[in-house]
């Protein structure tokens, strides 16, 4: 038991470096450094202007404008039905905007959605994994879908300490373990942008720690986090967006943020 923990801790310690260096091999340079803007319309990782999405005659998102720089974290808060999940799915190119401009990683949506798929990782409520397949088989499938080499599967499984149970069908694993495998799935293709919908739900503290270097601030990726925990989310965010019924009510950095306004959101 102690050996296992030590190994895990060691793996954990070296992993962020290994994961980060694999991203350095990418042609586009990372967080903070100036990068070649070849083909990019803007330098911001995310640029939303007047984004609107309807659901029939109602507005799921109304006139949302926000700009997120590379490597920054945007926290999206709001009560149920505020449009947070819609926003996330839209950024993931799963939904199209009905009005306004959306630019993700320098590419306009929906026309250039094809250019950013494979650079975005989505971790939502649904693990998006097949229950009859094992963790390894699921990840190998996604590796093939993303054109990623097979050894990354093993690397990620080790990083979340799932390598010993990677052979068993997912339906035999606990919800927390499935969530860990889902994290692997979201990171398999080393995305520049992470879209997280309550990523630590279903994870016990130990698992949360394992997963932190992969999806946390140190990962260096641009992140959009939807959370029901305002305090926790604000603590790790560079920018806070508060939505109510699809409309922007709060948009500020944590420093400028008025705590009252956060409370108002949920009233």
């Amino acid at each position: 038991m102690a050996v296992a923990t030590t190994t895990t801790v060691q793996t954990c310690a070296t992993l962020p470096h290994r994961l980060r260096s694999s991203r350095q091999r990418r042609p586009a340079a990372r967080a903070g450094a100036a990068h070649p803007s070849a083909g990019r319309a803007t330098l911001a990782a995310l640029e939303l202007r007047g984004l609107t999405r309807r659901y029939g005659e109602r507005l799921a998102l109304a006139d949302v404008s926000v700009s997120v720089e590379d490597g920054q974290t945007l926290a999206v808060l709001g009560p149920n039905g505020a449009g947070k999940t819609t926003l996330l799915r839209l950024l993931a190119t799963l939904l199209r905007p009905h009005a306004g401009e959306v630019s993700v990683l320098g590419h306009r949506l929906p026309e250039d959605g094809w250019a950013v798929r494979g650079r975005i990782g989505l971790l939502g409520h649904d693990p998006l994994l097949y229950r009859e397949l094992s963790a390894r088989e699921n990840l190998q499938l996604y590796a093939a879908l993303h054109g990623v080499a097979g050894d990354r599967v093993e690397l990620l499984l080790r990083s979340v300490a799932m390598e010993r149970r990677a052979q068993e069908p997912l339906r035999t694993l606990s919800r927390g373990m499935v969530q860990r495998v889902a994290v692997c799935r979201a990171l398999l293709h080393d995305p520049e942008l992470l879209l997280l919908d309550e990523p630590r739900a279903n994870l016990d503290p130990a698992a949360s720690e394992l997963v932190e270097p992969l999806i946390g601030r140190e990962s260096g990726r641009t992140r959009v986090i939807v959370s029901h925990d305002p305090v926790g989310a604000v603590a790790e965010a560079d920018l806070v967006l508060g939505l109510v019924r699809g409309r922007v009510r709060v948009l500020a950095t944590p420093a400028e943020l008025d705590p009252e306004s956060l409370v108002e959101l949920y009233r």
Binding site: A38, G39, R89, A92, T93, L94, L95, R96, D112, W114, A115, R117, G118, I120, L122, G124, D126, P127, L128, L129, Y130, R131, E132, L133, E137, Q140, L141, Y142, A144, L145, H146, G147, P169, R185, H189
Partner: protein
């Protein structure tokens, strides 16, 4: 500089993606046995029903052809209903859409999966039919019958993949599947039944009528193209 093709330069090749998806389909089916056993069992049960309903011990010619094809069609509808269920329920659509893989890869993999289901179904249904209800011997009729089965299966696959994707994310998926696919499959049934009736005739078996095979092939081609063209629109959220 952006390339003019609509896929990023590092997108995986379609054949690799189709192979990976196919592997997934077969694995899931082999472990959950959701579709194929039901389809095969259903076909044999239906033959028994026909025996009692038609009050005949042996069929030949047009009657045999008709009973065989109607049974295959209904069993196929069971398969069509199950085809996309795992993906709809376990988030497979999103997972696929988030990847840079070409959209048609899903269409090809699903079509091939349905074809695999149908082949296994026929491996059970055709001998079963020969055993229970067919009066003339199966062996001499087999080459002709196989040709008709091949083209008929293609038609079922093309329509079935389209309708399966259409029906799966509706609230009445099990009802809509048969309701929409059966009228679209009538021409397939028509051509296949007409093509196989001389082959299954009891007196000297007739030649395979090319006219019906050709019509069937054309139908398969037209709807194949339509399915290919509209499939992407069914995948979006």
């Amino acid at each position: 500089m952006r390339t003019t093709t609509s896929r990023p330069a590092d997108a995986p090749r379609t054949s690799t993606v189709v192979a990976a998806l196919l592997r997934k389909e077969l694995r899931v089916e082999l472990r959950s046995f959701e579709a194929v056993p039901a389809m095969s069992l259903f076909s044999v049960t239906t033959f028994v029903l026909f025996h009692f309903a038609l009050q005949r011990n042996a069929l030949s010619g047009e009657l045999a052809s008709g009973v065989l094809w109607v049974t295959l069609l209904f069993a196929a509808v069971l398969g069509i209903n199950r085809l996309f269920v795992a993906d709809a329920e376990q988030g497979g659509f999103d997972g696929f859409l988030l990847s840079p893989a070409g959209r048609s890869a899903l269409l090809y993999s699903k079509a091939l999966t349905l074809l695999a289901y149908l082949i296994v179904l026929e491996l059970v249904a055709v001998p079963g039919f020969a055993l229970l209800l067919l009066q003339p011997a199966l062996w001499p009729a087999l080459p002709g019958l196989l040709a008709v089965l091949a083209l008929g299966d293609l038609g079922i696959v093309v329509i079935g993949t389209l309708v399966g994707a259409l029906a799966v994310r509706t609230s009445v998926r099990d009802l809509l599947g048969p309701m929409v696919s059966l009228p679209l499959l009538v021409p397939v049934l028509l051509c296949a039944a007409r093509a196989s009736s001389p082959v299954l005739a009891s007196a000297r078996a007739g030649a395979l009528p090319l006219r019906w095979l050709l019509t069937l092939a054309l139908y398969d081609l037209v709807f194949g193209l339509i399915t290919f063209a509209v499939f992407d629109f069914l995948l979006e959220d």
